[in-house]
C-alpha cells in the first residue's frame, strides 16, 4: 500500500469503484459542505473535492476535504497548478496529510480567464506532470522538490506525506495520438489512478482505451471513466460549443431533446454509459461528476447496480 486510503484498498482488491465529486461552496457556508457530504455518504468510495473549480474562488479543497472526512467521506483532494507555486503545493500536501487526507488529484487547472478573477496573475510554476512527480518523490523518496529530506532537523525522524496520487486524462483533447503519450508520461511521473474527462462519445473513448491497453498502461494505473449526468439538452449543447476539450455526439443531444422528462433521460444515459464503460477492458471504475447536482448521485449509483458499495476492513 502506498497510502492505504480506502480508494487504494478497493482498487487493489479489484473492486469496480465509484467516485463522485463535491464542489465546495462559493462562500463560507460550512452547512453546504455537510449537506453535500450527507447526500454522498455511502454512495461513493471516494469523493473529489474540487480546487477553485473553473477558476472561481471557493472554500479551499483541503479545508472542505477535512470537513467531508469528518462527515464520513473519503476525500480526494484536487490541486491545480494555476494557483500555487511549489512551496505552497508542498505545504498544502503536508497540511492535507496531517489532517488525515490520503488521496490527491493533480491537475493543470482551467485557465483563470474562465473564472471570476480573469485579471489575476496565474502561477504554473509546475505543470501537472511535474506536480505528480514532486508528490511521488515526497512519498517514495521522502524528499522535497529541492532534494532535501522531509524532516525537521538532521537528527529527527523522516516523516513524509503518503498520498494515493491521481491525475486527469482527457481522451478527447487534441492532438488525439498524443493523449496516450501524455497518460504514459503521467504514469511515469508517478500517477496511481486516473480519472478521465466526462465521456459522451463512447466510440472515441473506446479507441483511446484500446491504445491504452495496447501499450499495457491499464496495468500500471487504475483508470476510472468520467461520467456526467446532464439535466437538459441545452446544457449538452452549451458544453459542445463552449467547453474546450469535449466531444459530444449530436445524436445524444437529439435524444435529450426528444425526451419527455429530460432529467430522467439524463440519468438513463448516465446509467447506460456506466454499464457500457464497465465492459471496456482496462476500466476499473467510474467517476461521476454531477456538477452542482450531487442529489442525483445516489439514484445513478443504485440504477447502475453499484449499490451498496463494498466495505473495507
Amino acid at each position: 500500500m502506498k497510502a492505504g486510503s480506502r480508494l487504494e484498498q478497493l482498487l487493489t482488491r479489484g473492486e469496480f469503484v465509484a467516485t463522485a465529486e463535491l464542489g465546495p461552496p462559493k462562500s463560507a457556508d460550512i452547512q453546504l459542505i455537510k449537506r453535500k457530504a450527507e447526500i454522498l455518504r455511502g454512495f461513493a468510495d471516494a469523493v473529489n473535492i474540487t480546487d477553485n473549480q473553473t477558476a472561481i474562488v471557493r472554500v479551499s479543497s483541503v479545508a472542505a476535504g477535512k470537513i467531508a472526512l469528518d462527515e464520513g467521506l473519503e476525500p480526494i483532494i484536487q490541486m491545480t497548478c494555476r494557483d500555487r507555486n511549489r512551496l505552497a503545493m508542498q505545504a498544502d500536501i503536508l497540511g492535507a496529510y496531517v489532517l488525515g487526507l490520503r488521496n490527491l488529484l493533480c491537475l493543470s487547472g482551467d485557465h483563470q480567464s474562465f473564472g471570476n478573477h480573469p485579471q489575476s496573475k496565474n502561477v504554473y510554476d509546475l505543470d501537472s506532470i511535474q506536480l505528480v512527480q514532486m508528490f511521488k518523490n515526497m512519498r517514495d523518496e521522502k524528499v522535497f522538490q529541492c532534494g532535501e529530506e522531509i524532516r525537521n532537523t538532521k537528527k529527527s525522524e523522516i516523516m513524509e506525506p503518503r498520498m494515493f496520487l491521481g491525475v486527469a486524462a482527457n481522451p478527447f483533447g487534441d492532438p488525439f495520438e498524443f493523449r496516450v503519450v501524455r497518460l504514459a508520461k503521467k504514469i511515469k511521473a508517478g500517477a496511481d489512478f486516473v480519472q478521465t474527462q466526462c465521456i459522451f462519445d463512447l466510440p472515441k473513448f473506446k479507441r483511446w482505451m484500446q491504445m491504452v491497453v495496447d501499450q499495457g498502461l491499464h496495468e500500471k494505473v487504475y483508470i476510472l471513466a468520467g461520467i456526467m449526468p446532464i439535466k437538459s439538452p441545452k446544457v449538452l449543447q452549451y458544453m459542445k460549443n463552449n467547453v474546450a476539450g469535449m466531444s459530444i455526439p449530436d445524436e445524444l443531444i437529439r435524444r435529450m431533446e426528444g425526451a419527455k422528462d429530460a432529467k430522467a433521460e439524463g440519468v438513463r444515459i448516465c446509467v447506460e454509459l456506466i454499464q457500457q464503460a464497465r465492459e471496456i477492458p482496462g476500466v476499473r471504475g467510474v467517476h461521476i461528476m454531477a456538477v452542482e447536482w450531487e442529489e442525483i448521485v445516489p439514484t445513478i449509483v443504485k440504477d447502475a447496480g453499484l449499490w451498496p458499495r463494498p466495505q473495507v476492513g
Partner: protein, 222 residues
Amino acid sequence: MIVADQKDITEIIAMTEGYRNILVIGCDTCVTVCLAGGAKEVAILASGLRLAAKASGRQVEVHETSIERQCEKEFVDALHSAVKGQDLLISTGCGIGVQTIAEQFPQIPVVPALNTKMLGLPERQGVWVERCQACGQCILDKTGGICPISRCSKSLLNGPCGGSQNGKCEINKDIDCGWHLIYERLKALGRLACLEEIMPAKNWSTSRDGGPRKVIREDMCL
C-alpha cells in the same frame, strides 16, 4: 523585437494636466517598426495634445523630437539641449526607453505614451505576436523551436493540457495551442520521441522570479 502600442490618447492627455512645456520623444528602433512610437507617431501625438490643450483653453507648448535608441544612455544624452526648459517629457519608447530617460534627466518628470507589450514578431501587416518571455534559460532545442513558455497560455512543459482542441487553445478559439504546434513540428521532424521524456520542473530563478536580472560580460567590462 520589443512590441508596444500607444495608450489611449485621453490617458496621455490626463498625464499632461498642469504642464506647460512638453517634449514628446520618439524612438527610431523597435517602436518605429511596430508603428507605435516613431517620428510619425510622435508628430500625430503632439498635434493631438496641442488640439486638446487648445480645446480646453490651456497655454501649452508641445515640442517633438526623436532619437535613434531610447534604451541607450549615449543616444539619450543627445537630448540635453532639447530637454532644457521642458517641464514634462513624454516618451513614446518602450518601458526601457522611458526609464533610461528618467535616469538621465532625474529633475524632469517623464511619462509613458505606450504600453510595452511583449517580445514578438510582425506576423503580417498590422499584426504582432509574442514569441519569447525572456525566461533566461532557453529550451527551444527540446520543443522544435517553438516556445511553450510564451505560446502555451499556462506555460506548460510536458505537452498540451486537456483543453487543447482542433489546434486551438482552451482560452480562445483564435489562439493557437502552443503545444499543438510543438507536436506537429516534432512530428514533421520525426522527433516525437522527445515528448516522451518528462521535462523536469523549470528553474524560474533565471526568469523574473529571480529578482531583477543582470547580465555581466567580464571579458567586455572596462
